[in-house]
């Protein structure tokens, strides 16, 4: 401690009679040693707060990196006292209010604009070659849209066919396919797969959601593919992860782009047959899109000024599986609700179809002679949402005319898995954590499993679509 004992003066006694005091704290360079009766005014850095990020603390000599400690600098710090009244003659540094390590200081808040250490982080501006003054609104895979399905329908200019209440139904021939085709031992296998997905893959008491979802999907796909012997056209399918898809379209005055890498996609050599007859297509011209006034259509889409207007299907020309068949979305890495997942499916299915249409028919906006179709399955912890999308027109700029079609079947619960938690087994929180959250990970036993086989039938129907007709 700095309070030194007068009766036992410390420090070196110099020949000239001065006592050179030894201070464990580094002395600011502005201290002036004086002789005799002069008082020393020792300027401390605490008096003159500067924007220089010098950490004036007992352990001084260390520098903060303002980028890491921004909040520290924004807090007001008070200067406690000036270092005056220091009597050099006695060779003591008298510190009347030395209270040790925790002194409060007022400092001016740190000003980013005047700090010499601040990085020059300039975003690329109009000098970039891809700069456009008009921003594009990007729908990326992590977008969570405010209005849900309504906004998705607006953005893709589609009509929700066969909508009954909140959930819809799938087109008839998919459900027929599902009812007619059976996979051997499917109930047992699905049950085992569900239990395995929740229990068995790791040594931890609980399997993480990502892992169980991925396992579930891979097992379902594998199960469906065991029927390849009867339907050898199933070999003409390819399942791919991480397809990078981009598509741009104008919607009114706004340019909308769907871009990003989505989950698992199944591609096939032959395109899916259309789901609606030309009469139904012509009927949609009378349908009015539901507006979400006063909210704009492009809400929650990320605006960007630097972009290119290329469309890309995710693979180059000449690939042998050019048609998108089904998109599988999982509830991985970010919790997504039904409205987010359905919109994502819709937008990416639309983007795929649009990119394919542009490749086939060019960039001009037109009503397509042959509609292009795609499917999507979203899985959210055992709840399945099915989507069937049909692209009829690329005239997306105006609101009137023929619409695209969407069939959505939401909230199909495949299983209800419940387990008893051991309440007494709360894990004590680690002291390292800021928030002392207790995670109860002890489970007592495998609980109920209410299995709904209809959902699996729909899944099988979607998988088999395009390969077998419903009559078999």
């Amino acid at each position: 401690m700095l309070t030194m004992n007068v009766s036992r003066p410390s420090g070196l006694l110099l020949k000239s009679g001065f006592r050179l005091a030894l201070c464990p704290r580094p002395v600011a360079t502005s201290a002036v040693m004086c002789k005799g009766e002069e008082r020393v005014v020792r300027k401390d850095i605490r008096d003159n707060p500067s924007n220089h990020p010098y950490r004036s603390d007992w352990q001084s000599g260390q520098y903060y990196d303002p980028r890491n400690f921004r909040s520290e600098f924004l807090k007001p710090k008070r200067i406690k006292y000036d270092y005056e009244d220091i009597e050099c003659r006695l060779g003591t540094w008298f510190d009347p209010e030395n209270i040790g390590w925790s002194t409060w200081q007022f400092k001016r808040p740190f000003d980013w604009n005047e700090s010499p250490l601040r990085d020059e982080q300039k975003e690329p501006g109009p000098e970039d070659k891809n700069w456009h003054d008009k921003p594009v609104h990007i729908f990326h895979p992590f977008t969570k849209v405010l209005e849900g399905e309504k906004q998705g329908l607006l953005l893709t200019k589609s009509k929700w066919m066969q909508k009954e209440g909140d959930n819809g139904t799938l087109p008839q021939h998919i459900t027929d396919l599902g009812n007619n085709i059976t996979i051997p031992d499917h109930e047992e296998r699905v049950r085992e797969a569900i239990l395995y997905a929740h229990e068995h893959d790791t040594q931890d008491p609980m399997v993480s959601r990502n892992q169980s979802a991925q396992y579930m999907l891979s097992q379902l796909l594998f199960m469906c593919s065991t029927v390849t012997g009867q339907y050898p056209e199933l070999l003409d399918r390819r399942v791919v992860d991480g397809m990078d898809v981009t598509a741009n379209w104008h919607r009114g005055e706004d340019l909308i782009q769907t871009k990003g890498k989505i989950g698992t996609m199944m591609l096939s050599k032959s395109p899916l047959p259309p789901f609606a007859s030309p009469d139904n297509i012509a009927e949609t011209a009378d349908h009015e899109l539901e507006s979400i006034f006063p909210v704009a259509r492009i809400i929650d889409l990320q605006p960007a000024n630097i972009y290119t207007t290329e469309d890309h299907t995710g693979f180059l020309d000449g690939y042998s599986f050019p048609h998108m068949h089904t998109l599988f979305l999982l509830n991985i890495d970010r919790a997504a609700r039904r409205r987010h997942m359905t919109v994502k499916m819709m937008m990416f299915a639309h983007a795929n179809c649009l990119a394919r249409a542009r490749k086939l028919y060019g960039d001009t906006e037109m009503d397509l002679p042959e509609p292009i179709t795609a499917q999507g399955v979203a899985m959210e912890d055992g709840v399945f949402h099915f989507l069937v999308y049909q692209l009829n027109t690329t005239k997306l700029r105006e609101d009137g005319g023929v619409k695209n079609m969407v069939w959505l079947d939401c909230d199909n619960r495949l299983y209800n898995y419940m387990y008893l938690m051991d309440h007494a087994a709360n894990v004590w929180p680690l002291k390292k954590r800021k928030r002392w959250v207790k995670h109860n990970k002890k489970r007592l036993e495998v609980g109920l499993l209410e299995y709904n086989p209809d959902v699996l039938k729909k899944f099988v129907g979607m998988y088999m679509n395009g390969v077998a007709s419903g009559n078999q």
Binding site: E192, Y196, Y215, S218, Q219, T226, L235, M243, F315, S320
Partner: protein, 504 residues
């Protein structure tokens, strides 16, 4: 049961001194038998030995006593009913173990890996794999695989560096390939139709080697599990396993950058013990995480370490498969002290994306800590061959049919339900007791009881000991009657002595 084992915690490693000894009553308690173990009247007719068996004392710290205690504990563990109890009992202690990983990065680390797992390597795949009939639709599968290669290398838009890393490419390609092949082949091959394909589950296994413990931590990229196990490649006592050469590495693994950690040891083959599917069939491993072929070929001219790549692949096959099969053996019920009586087999495909290496492993023995164990584990290994040479103008150049054929044979290797008994024979635990609390009070019994359960001394004596109370104070009378009272006796023993109240 677990508490009992905990009371007799073993200290197995030679060279560690223990300054702690169990109090004799605790040891004696663990040797007490239950009343059910009483010899019945019929068997009591046989001649009973006069003296108890001569075994080392449980209370001493001599070498013989330590070994005896070890043996008792091992018998106790072997008599536990389920494999899960055995694993829990064996792995209770945190012990210093050398952490091993499947891919070693030192020169000739494969020799150490073979020594530590006691594996011989045969440079040929076994006949049971090469004799597997290849599917009729080989041409179709071949065109599919070529499409897949083109897709991954040529057609897919994978712009960012993350997707172009060799490891990521290898993993993606292997997953797609496995998916494709299991889909295409699954109807002719019944074991794959009901198989589980698992991505990214960890495999951990610990075992005692002669002077230290090892713990393997491993994460194969894809595991295929089936309901029934694969048949054996060669008989357990065949020439390969008994006379095969195992390189010897007697130095400390510290020299190979293998470090000891005090870590809770684990045995986990990638699935929990309650899982319905328990037999491992094939592993797919992507090796480009640690090794890159181009770098090796660059070093070839400098350091003459040209064969290290192949040897390292072989070493990682050895370690990965050993850990996997041995952990499966533990789940069946065998332990390091209860050896296998039928071999456990599995297969591995190591790949780079372009080069494929196949291995078939047969686990013959689990007890590696005995030096006189004649059996060795065997790895049948085929060196790496490229699947294709290059891609030019959207065409695959130099496609190798043999590699694809071997791959289909490996995947199509059929599993059979086990003919022999599943699991080790149950072992009863009969410790030789020094005394039996519930037997009659013969002279020797009394002597031992007094020695080992001194708190029962007063109960066991043949005479009724009557203790006179010295100073009896009657509260009712309000005065100290004095020591002349002779008719007040205490017949119960001292209540402050702690008695053994539990069940035997």
């Amino acid at each position: 049961m677990a508490a009992l084992i905990q009371n007799m915690r073993p200290y197995l490693v030679v060279g560690k001194s223990c300054s702690f000894t169990w109090p004799p009553n605790v040891l004696a308690r663990t040797c007490m038998t239950s009343p059910k173990a009483l010899p019945s009247a019929e068997t009591g007719q046989e001649k009973r030995p006069l003296y108890p068996p001569v075994v080392p004392s449980l209370t001493s710290n001599s070498e013989a006593a330590k070994k005896y205690k070890q043996e008792l504990i091992r018998q106790k563990i072997a008599s536990l009913p389920s494999p899960k109890d055995k694993i829990t009992a064996l792995l209770q202690q945190n012990r210093k173990a050398h952490m091993l990983y499947a891919l070693g990065r030192r020169y000739n680390v494969h020799a150490y890996q073979q020594w530590v797992t006691r594996t011989t390597v045969v440079k040929q795949l076994p006949e049971s794999v090469t004799d597997v009939p290849v599917d009729d639709r080989f041409e179709q599968v071949k065109s599919q695989v070529m499409d897949l290669i083109l897709q991954e290398r040529h057609y897919m838009k994978r712009n960012d560096n993350k997707w172009r890393e060799p490891y990521r490419f290898g993993v993606v390609f292997t997953k797609e390939l496995a998916r494709l092949l299991t889909t295409a082949v699954s109807d002719g091959v019944p074991h794959l139709a009901t198989a589980n394909i698992i991505h990214g589950a960890k495999v951990e296994y610990c075992w005692p080697h002669t002077e230290y413990w090892c713990q393997l931590l491993d994460q194969p990229d894809i595991q295929i599990l089936t309901h029934h196990p694969l048949p054996q490649y060669c008989p357990m006592d065949s020439a390969a396993s008994i006379n095969g050469e195992v390189p010897v590495y007697e130095w400390s693994p510290r020299h190979l950058a293998i470090f000891e950690r005090t870590r809770k040891r684990t045995i986990f083959p990638g699935f929990k013990i309650e899982s319905p599917i328990q037999c491992g069939h094939t592993q797919f491993r992507v090796i480009s995480k640690g090794m890159s072929r181009e770098k090796f070929h660059q070093d070839l001219r400098k350091d003459k370490t040209g064969d290290q790549l192949e040897l390292r692949i072989m070493g990682s096959a050895v370690m990965g498969l050993f850990g996997w099969t041995a952990a499966q053996a533990f789940y069946i019920g065998f332990t390091w002290y209860q050896d296998l009586h039928y071999p456990i087999t599995s297969q591995v495909v190591l790949t780079d994306g372009r080069f494929f290496t196949f291995g078939c492993y047969q686990l013959n023995t689990l007890s590696l800590q005995q030096e006189d164990n004649p059996r060795r584990n065997v790895l049948f290994f085929q060196e790496s061959q490229p699947l294709y040479d290059d891609i030019q103008d959207g065409q695959v150049v130099g496609f190798n049919d043999d590699v694809l054929r071997t791959l289909l044979q490996v995947l199509g290797n059929r599993t059979e339900p086990l003919q022999t008994e599943w699991g080790p024979e149950p072992v009863p635990f009969n410790p030789p007791t020094r005394f039996n609390y519930h037997l009659g009070d013969t002279q020797e019994n009394l002597f031992f009881k007094k020695m080992y359960a001194p708190h029962l001394r007063k109960d066991l004596s043949s005479e009724r000991v009557v203790r006179k109370l010295k100073n009896f104070k009657d509260n009712r009378l309000g005065k100290n009657i004095g020591s002349g009272v002779t008719d007040i006796y205490q017949l119960e023993s001292n209540p402050s002595v702690r008695k053994f109240k539990g069940e035997d």
